[in-house]
């Protein structure tokens, strides 16, 4: 029997011309091709809080949506820093903690409502985080990761040892949200804006500078740009997202304490980025919508949940290490066919 040698040929769909980002849009099919994935994502996210009671899940799952949103902000920040600036940050817990304490203190001592404390804690928390991380900015790769991991641990112990900001008890009685619809929809809208904002940012001129810092920082210096400045701006953006999540969380919990420096906030965004696909920005968000509910659902199994959780992560890393969204985008933008060799 003759063996016919075949191989798979991968072709870009006709709509993608020349380079990434330059599209020729000339018919409604092509417009749909571009708009549909975005629309599905946005509409899906907006419908989610309504779908949960409709599908018979308990109110508790509506709370989970807010947590997912907060993790999604962290994951966006992580993916942005890691894949577009080249800083692997384990500082998620640090950003959350700083944001949460800032919001809680503003609320308790000045009596400001969440409408003011959340934006103020976002900017303030980002400023504090960026200033504290400034000495670590010349570091790269795993060294930066280790240093950022130390910050939440150190800050947690400082608060405990000096007994400031309520010490181990934390700050109790922080104002909550007026109702659960506002609580859920606000965070979903924030995630959508952050996602599309960041996606736009990385393709702007300043975004190219960030990507340049990742690709070749010496070249950026030779181009007359200070890498420390641009790394600081990038850390400001990512820590702003994290602090926003932290401020949000303290208003959901109506509490801020050293438990908000928990390493979950550093680790889950990384896992979500691995599963969702690094460098896609949307991937980590979807990764959070997968991982966080699973983590909540596995609570029924008690201590075994970590085992299941690790198994899921291991399976993803071994069989789909590129991440779901990288795979999905490739399938969407290219088609394959068999050709005879």
């Amino acid at each position: 029997m003759d063996k016919v040698e075949r191989r798979k040929e991968r072709l870009d769909r006709g709509i993608k011309v020349r380079t990434e980002g330059i599209y020729a849009v000339s018919s409604w099919q092509e417009v749909a091709y571009l708009v549909l994935p975005r629309l599905v994502l946005i509409v899906g996210l907006l419908l989610l809080p309504l779908l949960i009671p409709a599908l018979g899940f308990s109110l508790y799952w509506n709370k989970v949506i807010s947590y997912v949103g907060i993790y999604a902000l962290l994951a966006l920040g992580f993916d942005f820093l890691a894949h577009f600036v080249g800083l692997v940050s384990l500082g998620g817990a640090f950003f959350i903690g700083v944001g949460a304490y800032t919001a809680a203190l503003l609320n308790k001592s000045l009596g400001l409502s969440p409408a003011f404390t959340i934006p103020m804690a976002t900017i303030g928390g980002a400023l504090i985080s960026t200033l504290l991380l400034l000495p670590a900015l010349p570091l790269r790769g795993v060294y930066f990761a280790i240093v950022t991991l130390m910050y939440p641990l150190a800050l947690m112990r400082i608060i405990e040892a000096l007994n400031i900001f309520g010490g181990t008890d934390g700050i109790l009685g922080v104002a909550g949200f007026p109702n659960r619809w506002i609580e859920q929809y606000l965070i979903i809208l924030i995630v959508i804006f952050a996602l599309f904002g960041l996606r736009r940012l990385v393709n702007e001129d300043i975004g190219l500078v960030f990507r340049g810092v990742k690709d070749n920082d010496q070249s950026v210096r030779a181009s007359g740009l200070s890498i420390t400045l641009y790394k600081a701006i990038a850390v400001f953006i990512a820590s702003g997202l994290g602090s926003l999540g932290g401020a949000y969380l303290s208003h959901i919990y109506m509490f801020s304490g050293i438990s908000l420096f928990a390493l979950d906030f550093s680790v889950i965004p990384i896992a979500a980025t691995v599963i969702g696909g690094g460098g896609t920005l949307v991937g980590p968000v979807l990764g959070c919508f997968f991982l966080v509910p699973i983590s909540e659902w596995l609570r029924e199994f008690g201590t075994l949940r970590i085992v299941f959780y690790s198994l899921i992560l291991m399976a993803f890393i071994m069989f789909r290490s590129e991440g779901v969204m990288v795979y999905a985008q490739r399938k969407y933008h290219q088609f394959q066919r068999w050709v005879k060799v």
Partner: protein
């Protein structure tokens, strides 16, 4: 005196641990000339450029650029003064298309000062300006080449991209670290007119080179380095007849024709 010299380097010393990479190297570069730096491998040529442009902190010495002291300044500050450099081992942004590589230097304070907030003033946005620069440096405007990822470009184009990055900063002085190395003879042949054109545009060039024949076509003066020390300096024909230079290149007093491809 300092008016006619664009770059004055005085007694630059640099040692890495016990290795003396540069020892009291001094030279002056005149406005508008092409100045060559040659020397055997490991003689400290690239280290010298790194010291001048601030990528390495020198141990002692002084660098004056347009009469202004720039020793010990940060690389990005120096680049913003119009003193740019290319890298011997090309350093493009591999994940970006060629023309987007230039948007980064066009974003620098110097380029923005000269080209307005969009990068090109009346000429359009940064993307348009970078295509213009690439065309000037030898990328075919109407082909796919400027839009290709830098990782898929051949060496010849990457070398040009290095020069283009310097040009995007509207420089007064470019330090070229072996722009001819790794190129085929025909690629070099097309690079030489480019260098001549840059000189005609009023840009001063300092060129580190191993391709002596091509260098001597464009350079008016050369300096020879060996083991971190300056051997001699002068017009190419005279320098290559120097006994010490012959020794440095061949290790003996054997006959050396300067057109020999070192």
């Amino acid at each position: 005196m300092s008016g006619e010299y664009i770059l004055q380097v005085t007694d630059v010393c640099k040692s890495f641990g016990g290795v003396q990479a540069l020892l009291n190297v001094s030279f002056n570069v005149q406005q508008g000339e092409v100045f060559g730096i040659i020397g055997p491998n490991g003689s400290g040529k690239t280290t010298l450029i790194n010291c001048i442009t601030g990528f390495i902190k020198m141990n002692s010495g002084k660098v004056l650029y347009k009469g202004k002291d720039i020793s010990y300044k940060a690389p990005n500050q120096i680049a913003n003064l119009g003193l740019t450099r290319t890298f011997q081992i090309m350093r493009p942004y591999y994940s970006l298309p060629a023309y987007k590589n230039l948007i980064i230097p066009l974003f620098s304070p110097r380029a923005r000062r000269k080209g307005g907030w969009r990068g090109g003033g009346k000429l359009g946005d940064r993307g348009t300006v970078s295509i213009d620069i690439l065309e000037e440096i030898g990328f075919e405007r109407d082909s796919f080449v400027p839009y290709k990822l830098a990782s898929s470009l051949p060496t010849g184009y990457l070398k040009r991209l290095e020069l283009a990055r310097c040009l995007a900063l509207k420089p007064d002085l470019i330090l070229c670290d072996e722009v001819f190395s790794g190129l085929s003879m025909s690629e070099i042949a097309s690079m030489v007119p480019l260098i001549e054109k840059l000189q005609m545009d009023g840009i001063t060039l300092v060129m580190i080179e191993h391709r002596l024949r091509e260098l001597f076509r464009v350079a008016s003066r050369v300096m020879v380095l060996n083991f971190g020390e300056k051997l001699t300096e002068g017009i190419p024909e005279v320098v290559m007849q120097d006994k010490k230079v012959k020794e440095a290149y061949l290790g003996s007093e054997k006959l050396l024709d300067y057109t020999f491809e070192a």
